[in-house]
Amino acid sequence: MNAAPVESLPAPPENGLSFVAEIGNLLHAAEGNPINTCIQCGTCSATCPVASGGFMDHSPRRIIALIRAGFKDQVLRANTFWYCASCFQCTVRCPRGIDIAELMYGLKRYTVWKAQHQEGLIGPVFSETFVKMILRSGRSYEPVLATTYLFTYGLPEIIQEAQTATALMLKGRLPLLPARIKRLDNFKRMIRRIIPLGDSE
């Protein structure tokens, strides 16, 4: 997370809208201050347990710097926002009142919509599978979700996951059948008022 992998110049703005303005629009409804007010103090990065563990390729502070400098491709391809654990420590501690966790959510949505996220990440696939599962039944069912990540694991991790699952099963802590809500028809009509789903289901 230290060396700056700046392999290309900032991308030219699309339709006259700079990247920082696009991100500004993305966070239009958020309560925090715009990222232009960031003073690059690094409180967010220091307080982030994932960044300080060295797991992010750009720290939150650097993501903000890259956005402001227009490095769109580098930002969208970063793993930073997909590795955000939603602990909100950055948001609470930012001395400029920027809602940094909300910025991470905004970047996740942006890359999901545009299908521009880094290859090989589990996060985007997991989120989309989760949402589709809820839209079908109204409730979560853990075994469906396992398919989204087990294929990325090596054999030792798969064995460890299987051992944990077996132990939980023996204690009666894993569901055998998926649950579903009762007023599912109403629920699905409600969803269609918000997002178009198509008629295949």
Partner: protein
Amino acid sequence: MKTYAYFPGCSLEKMAHSYHLSALETTRALGVELRELEDWNCCGATAYFHVDELLAYTLSARNIAMAEKEHLNLVAPCSGCFKNLFFTRSHLKHDPDLAEHINVALAEDNLQFTGSATVQHLIEVFVQDVGLAEIKARVTNPLQGLRVAPYYGCQILRPRKDHEDVEQPRFFEDLVAACGAVPVSYPLRLTCCGGALIITNRVAALSLVRNLLESAVRERATVIVTACPLCQVNLECYQKQVNREFGTDLNVPVMYFTQLVGLALGIPPKRLGIGSELVAVMPAIADAQKTEPAPVGT
């Protein structure tokens, strides 16, 4: 008897069934009724917000609107559910256009959001509504000498910036003390356990779990107590994987605050769902109370 609409959330159906059982047992003993929402749907965890914000608000709003229909305030035992429901309510209350849009969708299920029902985490019902003095007065089995590490996690505290004790909260320590146990102070009590990453970035999550468990063990905690099913599963069920990954030798029981309160109230462990953990709770508690004399004055 004070009555609340109760939103258990998907985890409490199976994975955290002991939290469900102990929540119902202890609230009953404290004169509180939790009435489960009749047809609640998943709050969406963090995944909805990764894909579509409006959809995320709608799904949480359906649960809030059902509580409003019952004329009850809403309580969630899971910190993730609580955060989603709490912020959905506050956004919808402050943005009438958003509320109007979402109400068009809710009408399909004959529901309306008005903002009349409040949203609380279950631990707030214990600490604020029932009150620590009342809990202390009802303790029949004080857990003397038991060293308990209260783990706040993230979402019962953050991102509520208006909340005064977001950096230095005391309520969980005070609740532990009300049960007669010794609250252990340890540096990572407010730090994220990585629960949201256990699937999407396994090594990062395991590393956060390791830091947290070691932080509590270093201060000689016998047991860690949580207020969230995702924290509990992450801290307890992945200990073996943490040990394998980092060569550590961690074996700390992690229980729900409702189980701790239940034991102090004299409720039999089995009725609190104790026995379904992967790291056994009761032997550790029995050992600790045998070896450690109760400190004077607590």
